[in-house]
């Protein structure tokens, strides 16, 4: 299967977050740089579910020290993190 582009990843994550944490919200209100953790949109339990989704969907392993706001506060950061992890583990 061809790997998703950065834009595809962002779109998939946006859809996941909208469905799971913001039911009823318009996609246009959830921007690539909308804060997720620091704004309270995703709480600590929500983060675990998001990571679970990302690990399954993109076949990567998120280590505990990587789950902070530097990688998980904004959709664009999450997408770059996923791409970085995939590059680090070829055919991972």
């Amino acid at each position: 299967m061809a790997e998703q582009t950065a834009d595809q990843i962002k779109e998939e994550i946006r859809q996941y977050i909208l469905t799971e944490f913001l039911p009823g919200e318009r996609a246009s209100n959830l921007l690539d740089d909308t804060p997720l953790r620091t704004s309270g949109i995703i709480d600590s339990v929500g983060l675990l579910r998001l990571i679970d989704f990302i690990e399954d969907r993109y076949n990567i392993q998120v280590e505990a020290h990587e789950a902070g706001v530097e990688n998980f506060d904004r959709i664009e950061d999450i997408a770059s993190f996923i791409q970085k992890k995939r590059r680090a583990v070829p055919n991972g």
């Binding site: 944490f21 913001l22 039911p23 009823g24 919200e25 318009r26 209100n29 959830l30 909308t34 704004s39 309270g40 949109i41 709480d43 600590s44 339990v45 983060l47 675990l48 679970d52 505990a64 789950a67």
Partner: protein, 533 residues
Amino acid sequence: MAETSFPATNLCEYLEASAQRFSDRVAVVDTDGSSVTYGELNDRANRVAGFLLARGLQPGDRVGLVQPKGVTGVCAIFGILKTRGVYVPVDSTSPPARIRSILDNCRVRAVFADPRCAGVAAGVETVVVTGTHAGLASHNLPRGHIAWEKVLENEPSSREIISRNPNDLAYILYTSGSTGIPKGVTLSHTNALSFVEWCSSVFKPDEHDRFSSHAPFHFDLSILDLYLPMKQGSSLYLISEELGRNPRKMSAFIASNRLTVWYSTPSILSLLAEFGDLKRYSFSHLRLVLFAGEVFPVKHLRNIARQWPSPTYFNLYGPTETNVCTYALIPTPIPDDRTKPYPIGWPCSHCSALVVDDDNERVAEGNEGLLYISGPSVFVGYWGLKEESAAAFHGRDGRRWYNTGDVVKQDPADGLIYVGRRDRMVKRRGYRIELGDIESALYSHKQVREAAVVAIPDADAGVKILAYITTSHDAQPSIVGLKVFCSKALPAYMSPDVFLFSDSLPRTSTDKVDYQKLQKESTVNPESSKIIL
């Protein structure tokens, strides 16, 4: 009822006795892995007491604690108790206005605060800043604050000068109030001692046990965590908020520290079972798993019991007002076909239970009724709320019965079975939430005209909280914006899961919000973005 006597008159005597017997044993392991012995902990607590007395603290004075969990907090708690003071632990992650309203409500005379939170205590007579890390100058610290290190330079107080009384208040725990103002549950030494003595007789811990401390100190599960190990000379392992949110790190922590007793809400055990990667470690030391605070969905309980097959499991039940008052041993493994939640079981030996109907008449076995609890662990009253306090109790047979507000039924084989509530209080992640408290916060949003909040059962999360909103402008606020607003106005566990917009709210014939209709509608179709009324 006859006075019950305990081997202690004040909770701090558990520490004092263990400091005599086990001076060099580890009492508490801090969140950074460092530890203090019983001798050291008692010495520091004596210095805190010496400091507070020198600042003029009187018996019964309230002292706030606004800081992340740590050994300094444990030292401060025992120091406060030694002066016959009352500690008031406050969630340091709560919005500052909420923290301040609690400190003001019980008129604290002193506060121990982390540098990040100390600003909220400005104006309080004595403010101790407990952070030892660098960069204190960058925080907004109140004038005249005192550094924790200075407190420890005080001469230790000696116990002889204080005459202790078991009826003294020991601590105040604030819970969600229906009008948006947190409500202070006041508990005496007798209340806590009777509970700790019961725990000791049932769970039989000794000095070789290693206890978890997962719950924050403002949560009543912390009473078992703090005082049962202190009584027995066991070791207590403090779990930071950051670690407590991370199931993978937490399972490594439990295994590497060879914890023997775990106590938390079912939510945390569910997360451990689901995300903790438990198969990577051995948990052979774990002998006791205790849970309390909410109903444990059976599928999650089955999951944890499968992965941790050896410990004994207990379901502990009780509101903050009584602490644990009923308990049930959970036989494991959990059968695959079981779906109904486990009972809350039988009254603890220091408590009595009564199930009554609306006329306060005892109901027959098998029928539903309100659960009343009596016994030495039942709280003193709500701080500053005379009428609410009086209304919480019912006199009968010369005893004082607390109306838990929980509907239960009695079964000859299972004991008490929890059915639900008739009011608007729900439990999420072990926290008690008055739905009216959330509504009050939503009403302070300038675009919100009306708000009605309901909770519906959810197989994964236990409950899901839905907020129905009508707006005062044509422009509807974004859900993202409402989430952000709630995160600033409410503790995280109170933020609604779903926001629904409507032109108007359904009303009853007396023009009150028709919650039953909303509830029904929500259960049928919780995700609809607009309900038809």
